[in-house]
């Protein structure tokens, strides 16, 4: 969210023409606001930073803190303390004086969370659940961003700027440049962000890593429902035909993706978050110590 806003603030100034009344409305929609008549920069900033009626930076960090509180026994103290400190820093505001600094502080704070997870947590279920959540969310954000932009952008002179912004939202602009000599345009950017298994922000990469976490949680011999649905999702995003089909097939792909994500959400809920379903006769695993939460 912070990155999306930061990049679009830049983009609005980079365009040679006035971004128009629809520009901020579209940014709001990309951020997840379903119905909005916001068309002014200041209004959009205020809502995306601190809005309570829809997705905002402050709400997202607050929700992350609430989630961290719920699983605090499983988190290293330093990790929880960082999330907590980030929450307080974000709530204190101060973005009016230095919006870019404020947003960068959040972005770097989130990277630090990632680093703490990787560098301080045991390689156990708790870490895998965090990674599962992270990669599913990242996958969804990328698909939403790409599908949303592809549906609204016209093939005009400013499109390259817009697709550059899309890459920057996904921290993928520099790697794109290093990897491709082709101009920044809808078709290659879409292919890169959705299908490239080597890009850590691509939907395909995220689906693979989420699947890996599910397999680690389930154990070698178990094929759970989340595992089965994620295998299909991963297959969809690794399908060479889908990657080659181009923008024309994007809408159908997005629809199939949405259907699978809905199935996945239901599968995750029923498989991992109903502790009452654990049968009393299941033999205990002496290697496992994590209580269900």
């Amino acid at each position: 969210m912070a990155r999306l806003l930061d990049v679009h603030l830049d983009l609005a100034l980079d365009r040679s023409d006035d971004p128009g009344t629809g520009f901020w409305t579209e940014v709001m929609l990309l951020a997840g606001w379903t119905a909005t008549d916001v068309d002014r920069r200041e209004q959009a900033i205020e809502l995306l930073v601190g809005g309570a009626a829809g997705p905002s930076v402050q709400r997202a960090v607050g929700a992350a803190r609430t989630a961290a509180q719920a699983v605090r026994p499983s988190l290293p103290s330093e990790l929880y303390e960082h999330v907590n400190a980030l929450h307080w820093r974000v709530q204190e505001g101060g973005w009016e004086r230095d919006l870019h600094g404020y947003l960068m502080g959040i972005e770097m704070g989130v990277h630090l969370v990632d680093g703490l997870v990787e560098d301080t947590m045991l390689r156990d279920e708790a870490r895998e659940f965090i990674r599962l959540g992270k990669f599913l969310e990242r996958m969804d954000n990328v698909v939403t961003l790409v599908a949303g932009k592809a549906a609204t952008l016209k093939d005009d002179l400013e499109a390259a700027l817009e697709w550059t912004a899309v890459l920057k939202c996904a921290f993928a602009f520099e790697t794109y440049r290093a990897r491709f000599s082709t101009p920044v345009a809808a078709e290659p950017v879409t292919r890169y962000l959705l299908f490239d298994p080597a890009l850590p922000r691509s939907a395909a990469f995220c689906a693979d890593l989420a699947l890996l976490s599910v397999r680690r949680i389930d154990g070698e011999r178990v094929r759970s429902r989340p595992g089965r649905v994620l295998t299909r999702l991963s297959g969809l995003l690794r399908d060479p035909a889908a990657a080659a089909a181009g923008l024309g097939a994007l809408e159908a792909l997005a629809a199939e993706y949405r259907e699978l994500v809905a199935q996945l959400a239901a599968a995750l809920r029923s498989s991992y978050f109903q502790p009452g379903k654990v049968a009393a006769t299941v033999p205990g695993d002496p290697t496992s110590r994590a209580p269900q939460q």
């Binding site: 026994p73 002496p286 269900q292």
Partner: protein
Amino acid sequence: MPPAKLLGAQYQSNGFYDEMLAAPAQPRPAYRRLYDRLNELGTDELAHRHDLAMRMFRNHGITFAVYPDEQGIEKVFPFDLIPRVIAARTWKRLEAGLKQRVHALNLFLEDVYGPKRILRQGVVPAEIVLSSSLYLREVDGLPAPHGVRCHIAGIDLVRDHKGEFLVLEDNLRTPSGVSYVLANREVMKRVLPSLFGGYPVRPVEGYCHQLLDNLRWLAPKDVDDPTVVLLTPGINNSAYFEHLFLAKQMGIELVEGTDLLVDGDRVFMRTTKGLRRVHVIYRRVDDEWVDPVFGRPDSLVGVPGLVHAYVAGGVTIANGLGTGVADDKAVYALIPKIIRYYLDEEPILPNVPTYLCSLEADRKYVLEHLERLVVKAVAGSGGYGMMIGPEASAAERERFRKRIEAEPRAFIAQPVVALSVQPVFDDGRLRPCHQDLRPFVLTGKEVSVTPGGLTRVALKSGSLIVNSSQGGGSRDTWVLAGSHDEDSDTA
């Protein structure tokens, strides 16, 4: 320009025993260096360090919730930067007194849930002990592992107008506050490391190691690697931070009632890989809530069947069920007799004189002197359910009079103790605030006392109530090691 002096002649102790200052600008020996350093730092620097400390508490999530606050807003436990210093000699006596008291209380518990010799011999009135709402008949006759029922105790001490330590009350059920002892030290070391220079302050980190050793010791002998868990009522409990902190420090699982199930006589923890046997439960849930089959049927934080498993010996619970009878405030008055009976020793630490409203002569005195006494509900805690006579309105005193007459066993009364004070740094100046001390006593193979304890400070001006739920705060407590040139905290 030198920093403004903190503790000049303008600071007044208002006639109370001041633990830091024998007279204006005259620190007691154990506080001399601290006094000088605080003055060197000056008010601005101290204010800055105080902000740092509070930010650290907030960011670390070291908070508590106050029940009447329906918003459930977490609060940082107010903290004062000026540590309390206890000289080695003073601590030695306190430690001996605390060990003596808790040892005797464990013998008492084992007796009253066993042969009841002390009651049969009339040393203490059986009707007072057996009529306690905290006495559990369900565990009568049940042997306790190693003969220990109270494994963790918090004993509240106060200092009177002469500076003498007195026991104010015993907490033998689920005493809380030890996490703040450890957190306060951690914050002090980071925010004001210079204050420690020259002071041989005894560390407090050993508490969690000792507690874990003791809990593991309680497991059945045939279990090599017992599973110990900490049972919490959950995230909305006012002491949740402490539950979490202790579980993490000990490396044991923090579980809620729904994480456990009882199968036959055994207790299991649900895990994502199936069920895992639990051998020892450090419970932070009160007796009545611990099992809906046994206590309150509406308990959502308990484990159905847990008491059955406990009675059958399938699991050890620490503290054991029924320990509350020994911290019933009516039983408190009998503790000097209890110590003499079991240990044949004089109590090292005296009680505050206590009137039992269940005894006719005491009740008569109490009702005639309500305006001078503190009246407490025998099963109350947290500073609730009490009346401080000199501060109470006539209507409040009348309300308590009626309650005492209707249910004399439910109340005790004590004279108002002129609690000692120590300066608190507040809003750029120092003012005297009353304080108490809750040391934590662990019983395993041996009885041990963590050096220091939780010093709670009544931050509201003139208030005697130190409880966090009623505006109290805390400060770090330094127990000095060995013999020291400042080994005296009295003038």
